[in-house]
Symmetry: C2
Amino acid sequence: MSKFDVVAIGNAMVDVLAHEDDAFVVAANVERGSMSLVDEQRSDEIYALMSPSVEISGGSAGNTAAGIASFGGKVAYIGRVADDTFGKVFAHDLRNIGVTFESPLATDGLPTGRCLVIVTPDAQRTMCTYLGAGAELDVSYIDEAVIEGAAVTFVEGYVWDPPPAKDAVRHAAVVAHRAGNKVAMTLSDPFCVERHRSEFLQLVEHHVDILFANELEITSLYEVDSFDNALQRVRAHCDIAALTRGPRGSLIIAGDEVHVIDAAPTTVVDTTGAGDLYAAGFLYGLTHDLGLAHSGRLASLAAAEVISHLGARPEVNLAELAGL
Amino acid sequence: MSKFDVVAIGNAMVDVLAHEDDAFVVAANVERGSMSLVDEQRSDEIYALMSPSVEISGGSAGNTAAGIASFGGKVAYIGRVADDTFGKVFAHDLRNIGVTFESPLATDGLPTGRCLVIVTPDAQRTMCTYLGAGAELDVSYIDEAVIEGAAVTFVEGYVWDPPPAKDAVRHAAVVAHRAGNKVAMTLSDPFCVERHRSEFLQLVEHHVDILFANELEITSLYEVDSFDNALQRVRAHCDIAALTRGPRGSLIIAGDEVHVIDAAPTTVVDTTGAGDLYAAGFLYGLTHDLGLAHSGRLASLAAAEVISHLGARPEVNLAELAGL
């Protein structure tokens, strides 16, 4: 039995969320519905214009780790925050939901990253990320014993943005596979796929066993114009691909096995974290031998919970919600 | 016409809110439903045990100021935060809802205050406040021009906890009355009333024109065992008293004029800020000559909005909600 079901690696940050009208997104000149990288000055400029906001721990893989813990899974997180207010909040919120987080809090350099999340009236989220301390996540953060002890090593595509993290992730993948464990990845964001397409293709073809992507991301990866075309491509490369389509549900494909999973019903307030929590439910199920279809249903359930309220971390115990 | 409808003076802080079970309150050894003052070490100890939390700007009078601004009122706030992450969050959230906040952010000394808010399954909130930088609010923060230009100077009883603030508030009251303006006060918390009863009695009898108190606070102030007894006492001292009774509504008394106001219907999620937003609605109405009964209904409406979600700041525009 593994010490951990999953170890998640990602850009650690605190989300700063506010409801804004559509004109705000236009004025901020950021890509609606996506994640834009911004420097500290630009982050401060946009923040200065934002409505009163709520601060909640975030980071894509951090949200996934929190979700797995909420399902009752054994999960560790690797990421870099500073030893400042938001860094302590981030560490607190992970640890107190049951995630093992032993990455040291940096005592010098940049402040903890923050993601300005603009939630528009259609419940869509537009994100402006200042990576801060997260930009210096490097191979020294990869605890080999943790990777070796985790059934799945899960990485977010976003970690390809800060250069030192690439080597860290490649090293983690090698360690994981050497130990006979699986490597999972999410493509994170269509613009992230555009920025790193060739590297992502290589990763997907050679290193990733379990892939998470939404429709825009997977069609961008293969530069094809239909979901079905992308599906035919990805099934040749990954053991398992979980492809999400928002309210139209998701499709899970593993060799010849295919499952169509409906989205769980909910009232959508804020889509932030939908993909992160989908991955949480799926990985929890997979590492507890619940089978692909059941794992997919847990994924949909967790995604539905997180989009029913502001913020990308679950507000209820997911194990109870799922009747586990 | 006054430059400001209201200037609010209070202990400035950021709330750290989490849902916990009843056993947590017992284990934390704090007074259920009330506000306990804690030092930084104790705050850190309780925080270490708390579930993943949400950070939202707070401070009783700060919440009231935010509520008045959300109604469309002209409002200023006086309080002391440090020039740190939470201090900047606090200033941002006030200014960006439309509150004038010109108190300088302190660049030395203690960090910005924080209030750990434990929300139990009955939606009751139990608060542990570390005053931090707020403890050094003193008379130098009282901008006489702002006080002179505000129809009402509103102070929270909580500011009686940090000693230097008492002189600041007394000075503000003198300046306000000298300019022909009104002084309003909330008794804040029954334990706060116990800590400062004799001073509060003197304030209510000689300095306060408009008093806000809930049933526990007003009966504690006069050390009487019934709401009605307290009512007979307070009407002799204040021009207007707005006395709240939770789901049983409120009573507004001004000389011979008496109004019984029903609580507005809502689903209660978190009672944090109920009294603060009641004061916001009432003071907005009063300073816009809407009459006592209409002002009371706005008070109930604002209180109902804030208890329908986590956090003590309004999540919707209160002017729109009220159809103003």
